[in-house]
C-alpha cells in the first residue's frame, strides 16, 4: 500500500513537474544583453560565466543575430524575450530589423529593459580634456574633426542641449533689402539670386574669418526655417550670398526677414554656448557652477538608431517586434553642403527609428531624446503599429510621423492603423523649427490620442497632406484627447494646435485641450487653436477646449462641410474666429460653441456673414464689457439676416476663467443653447501617477514676442541695368492685373544705359489705379530728394505721389499728374510736357522735424531748360513722414510711360 501511495505521489509530482516545465517551455525563450556581455556568447545566461565561456550578449544587434540563428534551425515555437540590463550601449550604426527578424502572433519578439533598469542606447561620444582659457572659454581639440572625419552641430553638457553660439543671442537680425539679381563678375551675366542673397543691415555682420567656413545662417520664413552655409559677405555693400537656395525668395513674405548666425567664434559670449571650428577646436563657455573637468559632454556620431525594414510590395513585412523600456539618445544631424530648406513640416527630415513594411511593431515605455531628427516614422507600407507611453524630448525635429507626402499607387505601400497614444512629446524643433509633434501624411485610420505635446515652434499635430480638394488618404483619423500647449513661441507662423489639410472624411478632432499657441505675425499668417487649412473637409471638431492663442481659436482657410460643435473657445488675442475664403458651398457648421474673450474682435479676418457658412446656437461673450460686434451688426441684426439662430450673447459663467477653470456653473446660460459640458481634464496622458506628473511638472515662461525691427530708410539709385528684361524693379511692390498691363524692366528705350522701367496700362482693368508701382521709404526725419527721368507716350494719364500711410485714411504729401500732355499739380496745369522724350523730375520736401508743409518740383525738358515750382503745398497738413511713394497709371486705354535713373535719398 505504501508503495502504491508513494508511486502515486511520485506520479503526481511528475505530472506537476511536467506541467511546470511545460508552462516554462511555453512562456518565452529569454536572451540576455548586458554591458559586460559578448556577442559571441549564447545570451542564455544573465551573467558571464567565471571561465568566460558563456554569458549574456553585448548589443541589440547581437541579440537580433542570436534570434536569427535560432530561427535558422526552425520556426519559433515560443515567444522570445531579450532582456537588456542597465547600462549604456553605444550604437555606431542603426540596427536593422528585417523580415527574418520577425516574431509571429503566437511567438512575438520583445526587446525589453530588465526589471528596474533603464538601458540607454546612445549614438553619442563623450568628449573630455577641456582646458580653460584666459577668457573663461574652455576648449579641447578633437582630432577627428580636424581630420575631416567627424563634425557635429549639437552638444549636450550634463544632459542639457547646449546653445550653439549664435548672433544675436536673442531674437534676430533683419535683412535690409533683397538681392534678386547679381552680376557674375566672370561672365557679366545676371544671375537670379533672390533665394540666396540679400543685403544685410549695416553693422549687423562683420567679415569674421569663420563666417564662410564654420558659421551657418538660419533664415526664418513663415512656417519654416532654412539653414545654409554662407558663400560670401561683402562688407562694402553688406551683401550676403548663401551657398544654397532657400525654399522661398528672401523677403518673400514682405518686410525685413529674420535670421541669425550660428557657430561663430565671435558669437561665443554667453554661458552655455559652444562652437566648433574645422580645425578641431571645440569651445564652450560654462554655465555658472559647471565644472568642465567633470562635466559629461556628449556630441553625436550616429544618425539613426533602428530601422524596421520589410518589403511591403512583396508582402514581406517585418512584424511582431516590441521595444519596451529602452532609451535612445544622442543622434547626429549635420547641415549638408547644399543647405536645408524644406517647404513644410521639415518633411525631408527622417527619424531615428524608421519603419517601412512593418506590422505589429510596438514601441512602449521608451525614451527618445537629444536627437537631431524626428523620433519615430512609420513611413511606407506600415500597418497596425503603435507608440505608447514614450517620452520623446529634446528633439532636433519632431515626434512621430505617419505615412508619406504622396499617395502611393501600390496599395501595399500605404501606411495606416497606427496608434500614437499616451506619449509625452516635448521640446521639439530644436534644429528644424518647422517640425511637428505628430505628423500624418497620406495615411488613414490612425489614432493619435491622449498625448501631451508642448514646446514646439510650429504646429503640434498636423493631419493630411493635400492642398485643395484633390484626393487624400488622410481619412478616419482620430485626433482625440490630446493636450497641446506652448506652441509657436512667437517664432513661426501659419500654425495650429491641430492643423489639417485636404478632404478628411471620418476624421475627428475631439476632446483636445489646446492653449498657448503664439505665432510670429509681422509677416506670415497667424497661430490658431484649430486650423483647417487648404481643402480641409468633412472633419468633426467637438468637445475641444482652446484658449490663449494668437490669431483665433478656430480658423478655416477654405474647405467644405466641417463641423465645429460644442467647443469652448476662449481668449484669442487678435480675434476669435476666422474664415478666410468664401466659396460656393458650405464651409463649415459652427454650433453650440462657447466663445469668450476680453476685448477685441470676434472675427479676426474674412467674413462669416454669407449663407455658405452656418452659425447657430452659439454663446458669445466679451468679458471686457464691450458689445459683441458681428462684423458691424448686432446679434439681432445678424439673426435677422439668417445667421446664428438660437445664439445668445451672455456670460457663460465659467467657474474661474481668468485662471483657466472653464467648468460651467450650474446656472450657466450655455445650457440654453444646448451646450453639453465635457470633462476636458481627460485630455493628456493617463495611467501611472508618475507618468502624469512627468507631463504636468513642466513650467513654461510666458511668451515673449520679438520687438519689431527698427525701420530702415530705403535709399534708391536704380537705373534698372542690373535686372533682366521682363523683371519687376527691385525693392518695389508692383501691382498689375495681368490683363495686358505691365510694370517691368525693358530694353526698348533708356534715358541712360540700355534699360529702363516700362509701365503699360490696358483697357478693361478692374481698378483704375492699376498698374501702379510702390516703394516704402520709411523716411521719418530729414529732407527727401526724389529724382527720376520719365518718358511718356500718347494718352498717358499718371501721377507720382508720396503718402503718409501709417493709418487710414492716408495723408498725401507731394503729388503731380501728367494728363493730356501737361504737368498738372493740384488740378492746375503747370506746363506742357512733350511725349516720347526723356524729362527729368526732381522733388524735394522735408519730413518729420524738417517738415514745413511745402514741396518743390523741378522739371527739365530737353531743349527747354529747368522749370522750378517752389513752395507747393503738401496735400494734407497731417502728412508727416513718407511711408509710401508711388507711380500710378490712370488711363483707360493702352498707354505707356517709362522711368529711368530713379534716385531717392534722405538727408537727416
Amino acid at each position: 500500500m505504501r508503495r502504491r501511495q508513494l508511486a502515486g505521489w511520485l506520479y503526481i509530482l511528475l505530472l506537476g513537474a511536467m506541467a511546470v516545465m511545460g508552462c516554462q517551455k511555453a512562456s518565452a525563450l529569454t536572451l540576455y544583453v548586458s554591458p559586460d556581455g559578448r556577442d559571441e556568447w549564447s545570451g542564455r545566461i544573465e551573467r558571464p560565466k567565471a571561465d568566460g565561456t558563456d554569458g549574456p550578449l553585448a548589443s541589440l544587434s547581437g541579440a537580433r543575430d542570436a534570434i536569427r540563428r535560432l530561427k535558422a534551425a526552425g520556426p519559433l515555437t515560443e515567444p522570445v524575450r531579450v532582456v537588456i540590463a542597465d547600462g549604456t550601449y553605444f550604437l555606431d550604426a542603426p540596427v536593422l530589423f528585417t523580415p527574418q527578424d520577425s516574431g509571429t502572433a503566437d511567438c512575438p519578439v520583445t526587446y525589453e529593459a530588465a526589471p528596474g533598469a533603464r538601458p540607454v542606447f546612445t549614438g553619442g561620444r563623450k568628449i573630455t580634456g577641456f582646458q580653460r582659457g584666459e577668457d573663461g572659454v574652455w576648449t579641447v581639440k578633437i582630432p577627428q574633426v580636424a581630420e575631416g572625419k567627424w563634425y557635429f552641430e549639437q552638444l549636450w553638457v550634463n544632459g542639457r542641449r547646449a546653445v550653439r553660439a549664435r548672433m544675436p543671442n536673442k531674437f534676430y537680425f533683419y535683412t535690409a533689402r533683397k538681392k534678386e539679381y547679381t552680376r557674375d563678375p566672370a561672365t557679366g551675366q545676371l544671375l537670379h539670386t533672390a533665394n540666396r542673397a540679400f543685403i544685410a543691415r549695416p553693422g549687423d555682420l562683420q567679415p569674421w574669418p569663420d563666417l564662410t567656413t564654420d558659421a551657418a545662417i538660419v533664415l526664418y520664413h513663415s512656417w519654416e526655417t532654412g539653414r545654409h552655409w554662407i558663400e560670401a559677405f561683402d562688407p562694402q555693400t553688406n551683401t550676403v550670398v548663401l551657398k544654397s537656395n532657400a525654399a522661398w525668395p528672401i523677403m518673400w513674405w514682405g518686410g525685413p526677414q529674420r535670421y541669425h548666425i550660428e557657430n561663430l567664434r565671435a558669437a561665443l559670449d554667453q554661458p552655455g554656448e559652444w562652437c566648433l571650428s574645422r580645425d578641431g577646436t571645440l569651445s564652450y563657455l560654462p554655465l555658472p557652477g559647471e565644472d568642465m573637468t567633470t562635466a559629461e559632454v556628449i556630441a553625436p556620431v550616429t544618425e539613426a538608431f533602428v530601422y524596421f525594414q520589410g518589403e511591403p510590395r512583396l508582402g514581406l513585412p517585418v512584424q511582431h517586434i516590441t521595444f519596451r523600456g529602452l532609451s535612445f539618445r544622442h543622434s547626429q544631424w549635420v547641415l549638408p553642403p547644399e543647405g536645408h530648406s524644406d517647404g513644410q513640416a521639415e518633411s525631408s527630415i527622417p527619424a531615428v527609428i524608421m519603419a517601412d513594411g512593418a506590422e505589429q511593431i510596438a514601441i512602449e515605455d521608451c525614451e527618445i531624446a537629444h536627437i537631431g531628427h524626428y523620433a519615430i516614422w512609420f513611413r511606407r507600407g506600415c500597418q497596425d503599429c503603435r507608440v505608447q507611453r514614450c517620452y520623446m524630448h529634446d528633439l532636433g525635429a519632431g515626434g512621430v510621423r505617419i505615412g508619406e507626402g504622396y499617395i502611393a499607387a501600390d496599395l501595399a505601400d500605404r501606411t495606416g492603423r497606427i496608434i500614437v497614444d499616451n506619449n509625452i512629446i516635448r521640446s521639439g524643433g530644436r534644429m528644424h523649427h518647422g517640425a511637428h509633434g505628430v505628423w500624418i501624411g497620406h495615411s488613414g485610420d490612425n489614432q493619435v490620442t491622449h498625448n501631451d505635446i508642448s514646446d514646439f515652434f510650429y504646429t503640434a499635430i498636423s493631419v493630411g497632406w493635400q492642398w485643395g480638394y484633390y484626393e487624400s488618404l488622410a481619412k478616419n483619423n482620430r485626433i482625440n484627447y490630446n493636450h497641446l500647449h506652448h506652441i509657436g513661441w512667437g517664432v513661426l507662423s501659419d500654425m495650429g494646435g491641430i492643423y489639417t489639410l485636404g478632404p478628411s472624411e471620418g476624421t475627428t478632432l475631439s476632446g483636445n485641450v489646446i492653449h498657448d499657441v503664439y505665432s510670429y505675425d509681422r509677416y506670415g499668417r497667424g497661430g490658431w487653436g484649430l486650423y483647417n487649412d487648404e481643402g480641409s473637409s468633412y472633419i468633426l471638431m467637438e468637445n475641444n477646449l482652446v484658449y490663449n492663442v494668437k490669431t483665433g481659436t478656430y480658423h478655416q482657410h477654405y474647405g467644405r462641410e466641417n463641423i465645429v460643435r460644442n467647443n469652448i473657445f476662449c481668449f484669442s488675442m487678435d480675434g476669435q474666429i476666422q474664415r478666410s475664403r468664401v466659396e460656393d458651398h458650405i464651409s463649415f457648421i459652427y454650433e453650440r460653441n462657447i466663445v469668450y474673450w476680453k476685448g477685441g474682435k470676434l472675427v479676426t479676418a474674412g467674413t462669416i456673414r454669407d449663407k455658405n457658412v452656418v452659425f447657430r446656437n452659439n454663446l458669445y461673450y466679451d468679458a471686457s464689457g464691450q458689445p459683441v460686434d458681428f462684423e458691424g451688426m448686432t446679434l439681432e441684426e445678424r439673426q435677422a439676416s439668417g445667421q446664428d439662430e438660437g445664439s445668445i450673447v451672455a456670460d457663460p459663467k465659467f467657474v474661474d476663467p481668468d485662471n483657466f477653470d472653464f467648468r460651467l456653473q450650474p446656472d450657466s446660460p450655455a445650457f440654453q443653447i444646448g451646450f453639453k459640458p465635457f470633462d476636458y481634464a481627460q485630455a493628456g496622458v493617463y495611467g501611472d501617477p508618475e507618468w502624469i506628473k512627468l507631463a504636468r511638472e513642466v513650467d513654461y515662461p510666458p511668451v515673449e514676442f520679438a520687438p519689431p525691427p527698427p525701420e530702415l530708410p530705403l535709399t534708391l539709385d536704380d537705373g534698372f541695368e542690373d535686372r533682366p528684361v521682363g523683371a519687376p524693379p527691385a525693392d518695389a511692390q508692383v501691382n498689375v492685373e495681368g490683363k495686358g498691363d505691365l510694370i517691368a524692366v525693358t530694353d526698348e528705350v533708356a534715358a541712360t544705359g540700355k534699360q529702363s522701367l516700362k509701365i503699360m496700362d490696358a483697357p478693361g482693368l478692374a481698378h483704375l489705379f492699376n498698374p501702379h508701382l510702390v516703394y516704402s521709404p520709411n523716411y521719418q526725419d530729414g529732407v527727401v530728394t526724389l529724382s527720376f527721368d520719365m518718358r511718356v507716350g500718347e494718352g498717358v494719364e499718371m501721377y507720382c505721389e508720396g503718402r503718409d500711410w501709417r493709418s487710414q485714411p492716408y495723408r498725401v504729401g507731394h503729388s503731380f499728374w501728367v494728363r493730356g500732355g501737361q504737368l498738372v499739380i493740384w488740378d492746375q496745369p503747370m506746363m506742357v510736357l512733350p511725349t516720347d522724350q526723356w524729362i527729368h523730375f526732381e522733388v524735394r520736401f522735408g519730413v518729420g522735424a524738417l517738415l514745413d508743409g511745402t514741396w518743390t518740383l523741378k522739371v527739365t525738358v530737353p531743349g527747354q531748360g529747368e522749370s522750378a515750382f517752389e513752395n507747393l503745398r503738401l496735400g494734407d497738413p497731417e502728412f508727416h513722414v513718407l511711408t509710401w511713394l508711388g507711380w500710378s497709371s490712370m488711363a483707360k486705354e493702352q498707354t505707356v510711360f517709362y522711368l529711368d535713373n530713379l534716385r531717392l535719398t534722405l538727408e537727416e
Binding site: 525594414q309 508582402g315 500597418q383 502611393a408 484633390y470 521682363g726 495686358g740
Partner: protein, 419 residues
Amino acid sequence: MKQWPIRAGNLSGGNPLKRVLPQTPFPDFLRCAGGNPLKGVFPHTLVGKFFTLSPLRAMRKAVGTMTALWVCAALSGTVLAQGGNFPLGGGASGLEGLRLAVSGGVTTKLEGPGGAAGNTLILTFDKPGEERRLLALAVPLPLRGDPAAAKAIEVKYRLDLAAGQPPKLALVAWEKGGEAWYKLAAESMITGEEATGRLSVTTLTPTAFSQDASGALEWDALQALWLGVALDGAARGALEVRQARFTSEPYRPQKPLRVTGDGPGQWTVASDPAVQAKLTTPNEGPGGKPCMRFDFTFPGRRHMYALPVVPLPPADLSDYRGVQFTYKATLPPGIRGLLVTLWEQGGAHYEGFPYPPPSDDWVTVTMPFEDFKLAGWTRDANNRLDLDRLTNMVIGLHGTADADVGTGTIWVCDVEFVP
C-alpha cells in the same frame, strides 16, 4: 529537352531499353534497368573494353557511351543546361525539391510533384486578411544551369480561385552577403485556365531591407531563391504548377500598359501662382475620343510653369521601352516644346528629351526611357530612373514667353507605356 520516344507497346517485358537501343555496344550497361544497375557502369569494364577496340569501333563505342549516359541522365531527370534554359528545380518539370519557404501566415498545403499531384505541384491557400502576403517556395540549390545567361523565369500553371483576386508572380533572390532582390509581375495571374507566366530576371529590384544593395544580383553569390505569389486581400484557391524553368527568351510585355485607361485620365494641375489655367476632358481627341485639354495664360518675360499631372498605375515598368502619347499643342513664342516628366516615389523628376514640339495636328510621340534625364530642379539619391517606382507623369510646359503674355492649349490622349 528532347523527349525519348519510349512507347509502352514496345516493351517486351524485359529490359525496355533493349528495344530502344538495339545496337548499343554496351548490352551490360543497358541491362541496368532490369539487373544490377552498377554492372554496366563499372569503369574498369568500360575502359578495358574501350582500349581493346579498333579506332573505328572505339569511336562507335564512345558515341554509344555518351548516348547511353545522356539517356540515363535524361531518365534520371538530370539534363545538361543549354545556356539560360534549364528547369528551376529538380526533375524535368523543374518542380522537384521546391518546398514552402514562407507563407506569411496564410494557411497553405503543398503537394507534389508525385503522389496524388502527379507531375505537378499543387499549392492550396486560404488567406483571410486584407494585407498583401508573399507565399513562396524555396528553389533547391545549386541551380541546374547558369541563371546569368537566363532572361526570364517561365511558369506554366493553372490557378483556380474560390475567392479573392488573382495574385502576381514574384521572385526573391537572396545573396550570401545579405542582399535580397525581387521581381514582382506587373500583371496579375490568369485564373481558370492553363497559362504561362513570365518574370524577367534581368531587372531585379533590391528589397527595401537590402543593406547596401548595389548594381545587380550576383547569381554566383546566391544563397536562396524563392518563387511565389503576392496575394492581396482575402483569397482562397489552388495554384497548380506544371512547369517552372529559366529561359533565355526575354520577357516582353505583350501589349502597352495604358496610363489614361479608356478615358482621358485623372489629371490635376500644378502651376506657378500667376498662371491662369483650365483643365477639362472634352471629346476632342482624334475621332472624337476623350482627351485632356489644358488652356493656360501666364505673364511673359519671366519663368513660368504649368504642369498637368496624371497618376501612373502601380506597376514595374522595367520591361517596357518608353512612354507614348498623342497630342496637339499651341504654345506661346519662347516655349520650345512640351515638358514631359516622370516622377519617382521619393520626389525625383526625370525630364524627357527632346521636348515634343508644338503641333497644330495630332501627333503620336514615343519617348524611350533612356531619353529621360534627372531634372535640374530635383535630386535623386541613386541618380537612376527607377521604373518600378514611378508615381506620376507630367505633360505640360515651362519657360519664359517672349511676349508680355503667354497663352496656349495642350491636348493629350492615349498615354501608355509601350513594350
